[in-house]
Symmetry: C2
Subunit: 520 residues, 2 copies
């Protein structure tokens, strides 16, 4: 029967004679003529015929090592014995997953915008209730259950406008601000805007990068143009390198360069760019007709006195009218900073230099997915308009915020110092963000054992797998983020609680020494 002949299909003759086929042709079905199948029957979706862009895509943060970590964590729950009691996940910037407490104000606001009966119970401070009422008044049916404007709830977009205006000292406009589900949403939409019919869109990305970029670029059938960050100079962005990367890509001619991605503060590299450097980057984009995607989700996470976060928007707008047609998309997220609400999925994108007709096109793209989730939008509201001095919620809010930021700052130093104290490891100062990306010498002798597991396994992957299996610590191999040939790295978040992180680093050190001794 037709149904039973899988994958490879069957001949047309046989199909026409098959019992099932004749049965169908003779049923009381409303149609009288049944044409033969139009092709050899095959399974619609297989690994072989799947969208090749998806097949080729890799996503390191949730790649082989983290998956193995999840497997081990599950086995631990089921009583399987390991040399450790639990797995410490330091692979992903999941603040609350590693112990950060949510901000009270954020959660109270979510609760009473969701259940409005709480507004009259007198259990929440008046500024929480006031904020809730203001947001709800701007929602259809005064409910977060209504679709919002596809660009986001207007009052919240206006609060983002105020936030950006105050941050940069230059007036912003909410008409250019769209709310998103985290930053990812907006970043993928930005790349999609630039796709072309006849050629791949080239997207210049830093190496090391946050692997969302390479994954999204591959998925969307765009083309990644790698530029290396200068590890010896605090992971700075050097103009020669941007020029080299662009020139080589133009020679290669695999794509038309359309976008430059800058992650500032850096992920996984933690650098915070000085304004001079940012000006050069803007000029580079300008003369090469590149849309600048500024991933600025770590703008609140800066830990060194010598560097302040400056937005690309501010630097650009201070460069004057020569750059008035410059195009910049800047992303922010409620998953990072001091908010750390990763699971809720909130964020925004601001588009600078986008004329009205183009904004309408972006609006259309956003319309198809109807709206960003409304609770995420509420959390954006707190991010951009936190309680102010004098507000009933200010004191607690500020205490919680400071605790989070100060702890991150202490951990940024702890990790930096610890890594540099271990022979064979060197780590740049974590100026910002939530990650360390130390360079690490791994004895090549280990390659033999790595290749026993998988002939394609890289040395850093094997190293991280061994660390996981022996110590229950989940770091991510540098391979997933990209690294200069001849160098190896690992990435860790600095999110685990201070005592946990301290112990993790101790165990890491002892593992590293044993591993090195074994394979040297």
């Amino acid at each position: 029967m037709i149904g039973a002949s899988v994958t490879r299909g069957i001949s047309l003759t046989r199909s026409l004679l098959s019992r099932n086929w004749l049965e169908m042709a003779g049923t009381k079905a409303a149609y009288t003529t049944v044409s033969p199948p139009h092709m050899q029957r095959e399974v619609p979706l297989t690994i072989q015929n799947l969208n090749p862009c998806i097949r080729e895509m890799e996503y390191a943060v949730r790649g082989a090592v983290p998956l193995e970590a999840l497997r081990i964590a599950n086995e631990l729950k089921q009583g399987v014995k390991y040399p450790f009691k639990e797995v410490v996940f330091a692979n992903i910037g999941d603040c609350q997953g590693t112990g950060q407490k949510p901000l009270t104000f954020v959660r109270q606001l979510i609760a009473c915008t969701a259940d409005t009966s709480l507004l009259d119970k007198g259990i929440y401070p008046p500024d929480v209730c006031e904020r809730a009422r203001a947001i709800l008044a701007d929602c259809g049916g005064a409910s977060l259950g209504s679709y919002t404007d596809s660009r986001g709830i207007t009052i919240i977009r206006k609060h983002v406008q105020e936030f950006i205006t105050a941050r940069d000292g230059i007036p912003a406009n909410y008409e250019s601000i769209f709310l998103t589900n985290g930053a990812t949403d907006g970043i993928k939409a930005a790349i999609a805007l630039c796709l072309m019919e006849d050629k791949k869109a080239g997207v210049m990305i830093p190496i090391p990068q946050y692997p969302l970029y390479s994954a999204a670029i591959t998925e969307l059938n765009a083309h990644a143009i790698n530029y290396y960050l200068d590890e010896d100079n605090d992971w700075s962005i050097r103009m020669e390198e941007l020029e080299r990367s662009l020139e080589e890509s133009i020679k290669e001619n695999k794509s038309k360069p359309k976008i430059l991605v800058v992650i500032n503060p850096g992920n996984p590299t933690g650098q915070c760019l000085p304004e001079d450097n940012m000006k050069e980057i803007i000029k580079f984009c300008h003369r090469n007709s590149l849309l600048l995607l500024a991933d600025e989700v770590y703008q609140e996470n800066v830990y060194v006195e010598s560097r302040n976060f400056s937005s690309f928007r501010k630097v650009l707008l201070e460069m004057g009218k020569d750059y008035k047609d410059f195009q910049l998309m800047s992303f922010n997220s409620t998953s990072k900073g001091f908010i750390g609400e990763c699971g809720i999925r909130g964020g925004y994108v601001e588009m600078i230099g986008f004329p009205e007709d183009l904004l309408q096109q972006v609006y259309k793209v956003f319309s198809v997915r109807l709206c960003a989730n409304s609770i995420g939008q509420v959390v954006v509201d707190v991010m951009v308009k936190p309680p102010q001095k004098g507000d009933p919620s200010f004191e607690l809010f500020d205490e919680e915020r400071q605790f989070i930021l100060q702890s991150l700052k202490r951990k940024s130093v702890m990790v930096y110092e610890k890594f540099n104290s271990i022979p064979g490891i060197k780590c740049n100062r974590l100026q910002g963000s939530m990650y360390a990306f130390p360079q690490i010498e791994i004895p090549e002798g280990a390659l033999k054992d790595a290749h026993k597991e998988d002939p394609n396994m890289t040395l850093d992957t094997f190293y991280c797998l061994e660390l996981l299996r022996q110590e229950g610590i989940c770091f991510v191999p540098g391979t997933g983020f990209g690294q200069r040939p001849g160098t190896l790295h690992i990435r860790t978040t600095i999110l685990p609680k201070e005592d946990v992180l301290g112990r993790v680093l101790e165990r890491f050190e002892s593992f590293h020494k044993k591993f090195t001794a074994k394979y040297q």
Copy 2:
């Protein structure tokens, strides 16, 4: 200066000599050689060089008429005078935006999963708190602020499994169930899976359709293959028509047919398919190697005694082992049914016939966007596991659910009867979903006035614009959904409250009579 030379670019010679350029080459910048721009400078993104798929995409539900409605609603707020006091938005399935109250249990559960201090305050029924605790226990850091597994919170996926098992009487498996931000998310991912390198992926869609499909297909550079629903037979799906549509598309050879989309119950057409018809559709997909996308988001919205909702999954699995390699993706959403939480963005997709390796690929795609928003996942939990008889929250929950469903049922009859009572309008019985799509005779005499506004304006668009301007009623022209050549339709939701909807229909009738009299 380079910066001042917009769009059209400048000659290489001039650029090398320009003051700005020389300045840059001579600054203290870290690089010493500055290459000339690699191309004539142009603005990175313009309407002309924008991704042509995005430029061509249309999205009718938020198209020209709804945008005009928004504009008028804003003007009304600002005191501009119109012959009506407010705009009634009947263009989009926005339950709470048109007055539906959220379910108490849903909102209490959101509130206490967000603010866990509410769990101990004794203000919520014990089953709410129990549910909250069970969900939180399955979240990283016991918080909805953590990233969830990219497929969704495990306990919720297991509840979806139980729901599907009970609904169909055939065991489901949570490993094939992924949670999404509404259904849209999953539908776009499904189409993306099927894209090919060398040819466009053909997606068969019903006409009339929910315009998300045509929009997503255009955006993803796939190819829509239209098949017409049979309006004279309750918008049923006829096999001759599927065959015709597929054959013509194969002759045309613009794409390789990969997917068949069925919306059941129908949007905007409201039909609920009988099992015999569904079997034929499955056989058609099977012999033509098509992935079946079953948009089943209105599965709770069926209003006639003669039809029950059957899932494609149930019908398929009862067809036996001949179809064991059949592939089906079924979508559900918290935006519809009796939940109606559109803004929260919750939903799920179940994949049937997807082997493990393929599920891993889908997992990877979902990983890139990290996770569906966690609050939406919580609402999915209520949708698939509502309070049961005997639970403290059952009585109120059931009362609220019945009120919503009964009111929708009454309105489905009200709309059907009213439309059919107006000369020149005929409307099929609304068997399910939340929309009516009546056929309407519009005098061609109106075309002259339509073309005065815009030479490309269709008759139904002009009609809907006039309805909006004269009565403040926002219906959507059939053009946006597709209709057989020579026929014209309008679409309305049945969501406004009963008294509002009653008045809307009266005003519509009087408008229609005046309009017809004027142009006949």
